[in-house]
Amino acid sequence: MLFIDTLRTARKGVTANIRRSLLTMLGIIIGVGSVVLMTGVGKSMEGVILGQISSLGSRSMVIFPGKGPESGGGQVQAGFDSLTFSDLEALQNLSSVTSFAPIVFVRGEVGYGREKSAATVMGTVAEYFQNVDVGAEAGRVLIDSDVRGAKNVVIMGPDVVEDLFPGGGNPIGKSITVADRSFTVVGVTESVGSQFFQNVDDRIFVPLSVARAMTGQKYLNMTMMQATGSFDLAITEVKGLLRYRHGIHNPDDDPDKDDFIVRSSAQAGEILGTVSIALTLFITFVAGISLIVGGIGIMNIMLVAVTERTREIGLRKALGAKRRDILLQFLVEAMLLTLLGGIIGIASGIVVAYFGAGIVHHYLASYLFALSLPAIFIAVLVAASTGLLFGIYPAKKAAALRPIQALRYE
């Protein structure tokens, strides 16, 4: 049999029974498509999570008042006044930590004319912007002289600008009110979306000294800082100093006995790393299930078609086909189907992942379209080998029969 005839026969085998071919391909399309889609989603989610960590800087640490296991929630716990400014001064003498950015929250309405914003108002210092690695989109961020001189200046996040200046316009130099006090806008921070799942763009920053004056608070809501060397040393020193100052005896490092919580981005990274592994496992599991579902689809339709195909093989043998002719025909046919199904599967997986990512990106800025190439490769490999196996194996069995056996197969 000429190879061109093998190709033509295989093509006819695919096109003559379109319904059977489509059903076979559907298994491959579902298997490959869902793996491409799911692993793509997994990759995007991983990107979101890793973005949360890297945006914070690899040396970042944070202390806030409160109790609880270190791996607990990330929110500042209200009502704890255990972290005082004299604690801060003492901490600043430690050599293992630097670049302190104490934070005091200010309650009160933010407004410009008739426009209001529900922004979080934070009193902090210049180091804050270095620690979180956020620069100014327009104007500037806080500088030391703002804090020292207790100037009534404010830096706004881009979401706040949208709230207060819905018609557009340059907010720099405008005067807004925060808790009935007038402030001059001197800067707008660049848009960073969320860090550690908190929206950073929806914040207003005032000098720490002003915030203290407004609230009369003698304690900090939290402080950020940077480790100079090892995190372990920094955490040990910080905990030791605070326990000494607060009179806490806690040699076992039991977080329930402390009245403060120390976190590092490494710890957070570990937590998020665990989340990321769990996510990967889940996605792999789902992808595996899709492959099994697709594989069973392929297997089913191939096995259902066996009766008809066995008779066809018997006929072809009766007409003079060699075993090799039959095997080649079915091999090429199965290859055509798996190739076509694989391509459609990859394409549809990519298209859905791409447009899906476009939609999600609207709500979660750090969610970006991503694909996992190894997963695509494995999916195609598994689907193709399933297709080839169940395409060729029955054909191989039938081709070994005497023609009359194959012709009478039921």
């Binding site: 006819k12 007409l319 003079g320 060699k322 075993r323 005497r402 023609p403 012709l407």
Partner: protein, 246 residues
């Protein structure tokens, strides 16, 4: 008629039995000794279960014997490997089945061309011409591009005959070719087979109907796996004379 030195088909003590899964042997053919020469039109007759179809399948290389010898053009079937058997099926023998065995969802012409895919010597550019000629010889030229499921039973069987003809084989085997047809279509099919015989084809027909068998010039009766009677035309004529004389 000059006898060729080597017969087209010769069997010696050809036997066939089927063994069930439990290991029970069911004999189907017993020590068949048979010679068929080129150009003959032979009908193999017998009641159902007599083994006539099995004999034809072995002679046509669709099945194999359990014991005994089958010589085709002087060569023993036992000595042939898979590819050699395939080559004989492609070039020397062809079949017309009771149930037509056409490829579904495929046109008349494509079905007729099918054996040429496996024929080693007929060149690519001759295929369509040859197939069209074969289609013409069974009177289906106007239906050549119809799909086989759009045809009547008689037309489907004529398509199968065209497919059997297209390689110009040494023997055409016909297994109850009229079994699934109405009487008119059956007559058409038989007259085509007779014409092919007159054109020089060797034809071996299996049937259980006396009337169909009488188209042949030699009738072999099979009963319980053995040859019961082997009569040639002139003997039939003679016996007819004898009976009419009584």
């Amino acid at each position: 008629m000059p006898l060729p030195t080597i017969p087209l088909i010769e069997t010696r003590k050809l036997s066939k039995s089927y063994s069930s899964e439990e290991g029970v042997e069911t004999p189907v053919l017993h020590d068949i000794d048979l010679v068929i020469n080129a150009g003959e039109f032979v009908a193999i007759m017998g009641p159902s279960g007599s083994g006539k179809s099995t004999l034809m399948h072995i002679l046509g290389f669709l099945d194999s014997q359990t014991s005994g010898e089958y010589f085709f053009k002087g060569r023993s079937m036992r000595t042939m490997n898979d590819d050699e058997l395939a080559l004989i099926r492609a070039t020397d023998v062809s079949f017309v089945f009771q149930s037509f065995n056409l490829l579904p969802r495929t046109t008349v012409l494509e079905n007729v061309m099918l054996p040429l895919l496996y024929h080693p010597t007929i060149p690519l550019h001759e295929r369509e011409n040859r197939s069209l000629k074969a289609v013409e010889s069974v009177g289906l030229t106007e239906r050549a591009l119809y799909r086989t499921n759009q045809l009547s039973g008689g037309q489907q069987q004529r398509t199968a005959i065209a497919r059997a003809l297209v390689t110009n084989p040494a023997i055409i085997f016909a297994d109850e070719p009229t079994g699934n047809l109405d009487s008119l279509s059956g007559k058409q099919v038989m007259s085509i087979l007779q014409r092919l015989h007159q054109e020089g084809h060797t034809i071996i027909l299996v049937t259980h109907e006396r009337k169909t068998a009488e188209h042949a010039e030699r009738i072999i009766h099979i009963l319980d796996g053995k040859i019961d009677q082997d009569t040639r035309d002139f003997q039939r004529v003679m016996s007819g004379h004898v009976s009419s004389l009584k």
